[in-house]
Subunit: 345 residues, 4 copies
């Protein structure tokens, strides 16, 4: 088996420079639970990048970043509008419902992206107590389908949300991949585009673990410290999460890693799109490639380069690239796929 | 300020051998969310230590280990019996109530240890639907007061629990300190003593982060994987938690670290007990020393060696030692305390 | 305004014989919270009708009957499969999510009725902790669309459920209307058809308030008394709920009322179906009539006979009949509708 | 067995004038869920009595009134301060924890009444995320011990609460008994004394069922309609709750009933206090009498006049009087008790 597969960007390990930050932080005692100089510095860096009126808090993983961020801005009778394909709807084993008590109001989309025009059906019975009241639109940037919202699309959604007394939440588990895809700063795509609350992801882009919930409007995160603690996400040795954020930003590792992963996805798409029997099913705008391939090639390919079936019925698969995917991986994978495809059975 | 204080054992960092395990595990891709060889090996080691019929799951922190373990064995209308001083009652910002919906039924104790004779008041109205129904006794080993249950005391509580249709849960945030204090194996104090569910802690004894919930009876943990995921505690790069457990057990780092921390606590107690104006308030059986000292010495002492006030009214403080506390730390601290005490104002 | 409209069967009052039962029960003291002779007798009657192995509990309203019944048979990480049009999905302001923490997994249907063939998409990722695990199929009998499952359709769903390790829940808010529609006993349609848990409704058929949660398999309801109390649904003066159930069954008021309401719905459909510009959109199998009518007639009609818009975009309305709808009501309504339709504007 | 016992004021039935209001309201259709003229009138009456800036909502029972009222003014990480003997702590099977997720912070009291001086221990660690943050003081008026707060005591608690950024909640399950005890209006004891949220009880004073949650400050109840619906407490045929409130206030039935019940309690106390072997343990300020009596008399007395043991160990019993307790009941009870006491065994 190849040392690296295409299953998920979180199958990759820690980027060496971030691991080094962990090692360097392993000196003496610091006050636990985030009252340490690493956390102070990391939060300062985040406010430089997202705006001085923003406030960032570290949690362990993306599930918690999304759930606790949403819990902070909702009451139990609210509805959270999201795409049918969104991670909060599909992949959290009901964590949002458990912790927020909200109903997830799902929207079908062709490519994982919500457009304002899709939302009309959510706005019946406002003020009518028999129905959950919509409060948040949650979008993923990049989406779970490997697509990326343009800045103007985000602004349009933010305007729509604010005009309807809603907030805009962004699940940024792959926010670095989106930023390099759009060639913009984090801030242009979030604070400046009108996003209210952001789950800032890093684990899928080379961090060990540790995501940030960033409140982009003053006051929104006032209660978050209690919600995080009650949400079981306040880690004692927070310095090891925070320490990674310092080189992640200062050395622009987020950018290097995400550019590489995205480039690998483009290369993979370019290589396989030409092969007979392969159909690319989504635009490749970040680090994921979705394709329909003949069923017979899947198992042998997975044995060498592990990846997941996306849609059994359609024989659609998902290939994710990561910061450590090599050109050799792509080449070897493509050659093996080509061989399997030509190998008539 | 001294590089190490006495605030908490989780103000210390990562033990070098455990950090090395993290570094060694940083190779290639492994399947995320625990389906990796490090996790498999760590779980195997835990079942060797706790019994082949036990099952272990990794979570991030002690809050989650306790809350999710308790959630697995309770229904929402149950009562969880615990000491008034217990961590689940005092220090979790209501996380147990939020996630389990149970009422915590608190028992006053002189030293953090529950005895069966304290429990009579909990057993009125069994079967009466107006009252929460007691379901679990949760004890801390070592306790938050630095005391340790003897094996026979645990057995007695387990018998009491099982005779009353309850389960026995152990918060083992400092289980290694207790084991070396009793000079016994983990198993003698848990599985063999009748404990049903254990929060196995390591973070306070040199791990980066990562605790284990261990179900000590077959079948008890069947649903835990869903509860962990819905509880936002399934980390993607689980290998870095699991990898630490391998040397932690194979090199007996748990024992070396805990023996050292306990010895430092004994030394600290021996040194300060003799000083005029210092009263030791709890038996020193693990790595915590509780003492009443004159108010005037506290602030200057904290400035050099940070620690927490335990009881403002009584002028009682808590000093915790850790795996990296040095004899020089103890010596310097004692000398400074003595100087401050003698320094009449 | 006419004294009776077509808005909902719960806009009607109490059937006189049931009110009389309340009056007759108003004598002396009885033990509160259900330990009274009226409740004992009512439960005995229900077990005669549903089977000696069944167990019934009274709650106040249909919201609670559904939510607490479902809570009893689910864990928080389960999925509850229901029709998109179901009351638990549409009309409970998120009460099921709040109290059960489960995700509602919705199925589109043409007529409010789930068929086994619609369920394939719900059964991916069984045993995979990232997804909620389906545990219950919840159907409404009669449905919110005025249609009724045949006994064989219920049996088919029950078999499907039990073969997939699921339970079958029935929201019987209008169960009497369904029973007379099928000309069968309650038992044939529930216990004997394989239903596991039933919300037995009466409020929409002439009771003041008071529904029953009936567990149709031994043991299923063992914990319900605690869940009901914690769910805020244990009323002290339960005798006034229970007392109504005695004549409701002994004098077959359930049947008389439901037959009348259903007959009125048939008459209404027959009368209006022939009118120009009216399209009946659902089979009229219980006491609801769904129709598309020209927008211009709706407001004046509502002013005299209040009813609700069902689908604004389609100009589809819902007309419900009840136990006290009179033939004059139908006649007057039809004439007014006809007049409005002919009145070209 | 005597037709009336001393078990609880909710073992009594419906006062005839209130039953009559139910009967009179049973005419034609009205819009369900509270949009009916009875509810409008009852709410108007309540705002006359409590103040034009107050807002009242009907729910079914006292459990719900307390839990939903508290849920409206808390976040999940808050602490609710209450007496150890309070109904929300003792008798709700964990409903407050389940629905609010808050911790109940209990205060020991000699007589069920909280004094500001008891509260010091609750105010450590404000702003410290490891602890629940106190947000509400909840008092019962009258208390579960049959005592009554004086108006100045309530004002003192309200001031204390507001000075500490808390709200004051009153469980008024027996508010009428307290009002007649103090010979004051409801308003003097609530709105004017600084109470923020009130559970207004009537079921224990002659109503069938139906309590009101009254928000006494503008804006506090803005979201309550959603919380009530999601809390499963919005009844469809609300007219039958509301209709009772009209004569309850307009004919001052609340006052007549409560004065009678209180007078009966005074008579009972006067009669039994003189008997040998009876010790009255609480001031009789409302409609409950607490007494220690010899164990041997309890069972035979209960067989004729049912009542509850309050404290098994102390042989302390609770006798409640109600609106329909007769002087003959008191006389017969006293005579029987006297006979049993004199009957040496």
């Amino acid at each position: 088996m190849n040392p690296r597969g295409f299953a998920s960007d979180n199958n990759a390990g820690i980027h060496p420079a971030l691991l080094d930050a962990i090692i360097q932080a392993n000196v003496g005692h610091v006050i636990a639970y985030g009252d340490d100089p690493y956390t102070a510095k990391a939060k300062e860096i985040l406010s430089q990048h997202f705006g001085q009126d923003t406030e960032a808090f570290f949690v362990v993983n993306g599930t918690a970043a999304n759930v606790l961020g949403l819990a902070t801005i909702t009451d139990s009778y609210h509805g959270i509008i999201c795409a049918e394909t969104s991670h909060i709807e599909q992949d959290e084993c009901g964590a949002p419902e458990k912790f927020t008590s909200c109903k997830l109001v799902t929207i079908p989309t062709p490519d994982g992206k919500i457009k304002p025009s899709f939302l009309t059906s959510c706005f019946h019975d406002i003020g009518f107590e028999h129905h959950v009241q919509p409060r948040v639109i949650s979008i993923s940037q990049a989406t779970e389908m490997g697509t990326v919202y343009g800045i103007s699309e985000i602004k349009e959604l933010a305007n729509f949300a604010h005009n309807h007394n809603l907030l805009l939440h962004m699940d940024g588990a792959r926010i670095a991949n989106a930023a390099v895809s759009l060639n913009c700063s984090f801030r242009e795509m979030t604070t400046d585009a009108g996003v209210d609350v952001l789950s800032f992801g890093g684990t899928k882009n080379g961090l060990q673990y540790g995501e940030a919930v960033i409140f982009l409007k003053p006051g929104l995160g006032n209660d978050f410290k209690y919600i995080r603690k009650q949400g079981m996400q306040l880690v004692s040795k927070m310095r090891y999460i925070a320490a990674q954020y310092i080189p992640y930003f200062e050395k622009e590792i987020w950018k290097t890693n995400a550019m590489h992963a995205n480039r690998m996805a483009q290369m993979l798409r370019d290589n396989v799109a030409a092969l007979p029997g392969v159909t690319i099913t989504q635009p490749v705008e970040a680090n994921g490639v979705f394709a329909v391939v003949p069923k017979r090639v899947i198992k042998p390919l997975q044995d060498k380069y592990f990846f997941y079936m996306w849609n059994e019925e359609k024989s659609e698969v998902r290939w994710m690239t990561s910061f450590d995917t090599s050109e050799e991986d792509i080449k070897g994978f493509t050659e093996m796929l080509e061989r399997l495809l030509r190998n008539q059975q």
